[in-house]
Amino acid sequence: MSENSLYPGLNLGDKHGDAHVQAESTVFGFWVFLMSDLIIFGILFAGYASYLDPIGLAGGPGPKELFDINSVAIQTVLLLVGGVAYAGVSLTVKYGHGRGNLVAWLLVCAAFGAGFLFFEVRDFISQAGKGGTPQVSGWLSSYWTLVGLHGIHVFCGILWIFAMIGQVATRGIDDVVKVRLSMLGVFWHFLDLIWVGIFSFVFLVPLA
């Protein structure tokens, strides 16, 4: 296989040698996992859409009573910026700008992710306070499951970021760490992509 044929996308580049080649199959495997995740999210979206009628609401509070559009906008911006900030991580690894920069970029991503989670949890608490708990209606069950699952993913992403900071500190930026950082990048950008679906179809469309 010639080097030219290697994947041109979220990758490391030729001068990373073995890690670049290894990233081919390992990151592809991670993509396969993410696609199973995509199916789970997609089915939850379908469930949410199915429950979005008077029967699904079952007389409980609906989108108009529960959703805070300002908070959703803040979460959207935080996650978008946090997602794009991972470009700093990818490019720092790829062009060898050192451990300090790498850890700083990872911390920026984690900080935006944490900010996102702060507003999301605040919304969940206020919705529960308004009587919008998951057991009230089918629509609320599907809402909590879908948005909650995404929130758990973001939380896991933050844990993963800190695990990678630990590995960068102890192992340095070796081949294994590079490949793992590539997978984390795919995961982190993917969560941003799922959120596009959530803010559009879960929050904005029912309010329109």
Binding site: S5, F45, I69, A87, K94
Partner: protein, 146 residues
């Protein structure tokens, strides 16, 4: 958008073009996000709001895949991430679209308004009220979401 890393590209030049690609993606995403929220707050008819929001979402998903996840048909990529994603998306379209279609069709058949005499409807109302005085299920729930 993405170029194969042949090793002949000047690293600095290549880094600059990648940063530009991320920046482009960020700006497009931001515009589409603001557009979606603006459509919601605008005076457009509801149908148009939904159309704008859905279109913006699809465009933004494509932008994320292209500029952030670097999925692309171009280049000599050997990893077939994009084909994997498209295959998964088609499976998802069948499963999620099918679910939504079946459930909304079922809902339409079971809960049609006006037919309060239909036995299945009465049975459902009686069942769901669980011994409480019979009330017509649909009449006290606002049908319109707006």
């Amino acid at each position: 958008m993405t170029k194969p890393n042949t090793g002949h590209i000047n690293p600095q030049e290549s880094a600059a073009s990648e940063i530009k690609s991320y920046a482009t993606g960020f700006v497009i995403s931001l515009i589409l996000t603001v557009g979606a929220f603006a459509a919601l707050l605008s005076d457009l008819p509801n149908t148009w709001k939904v159309v704008v929001i859905c279109t913006a979402a699809l465009l933004q998903i494509v932008t994320h895949m292209r500029n952030f996840l670097h999925l692309s048909f171009s280049g000599n990529q050997s990893r077939e991430d994009l084909l994997l994603v498209l295959f998964s998306a088609s499976l998802l379209a069948i499963m999620a679209g099918g679910t939504w279609y079946i459930m909304s069709d079922l809902s339409g058949r079971m809960h049609q308004t006006g037919e309060s005499g239909s036995s299945s409807h009465r049975a459902l109302a009686a069942y769901s009220n669980n011994g409480k005085p019979q009330q017509v299920w649909l009449s006290n729930v606002p049908l319109s979401r707006n």
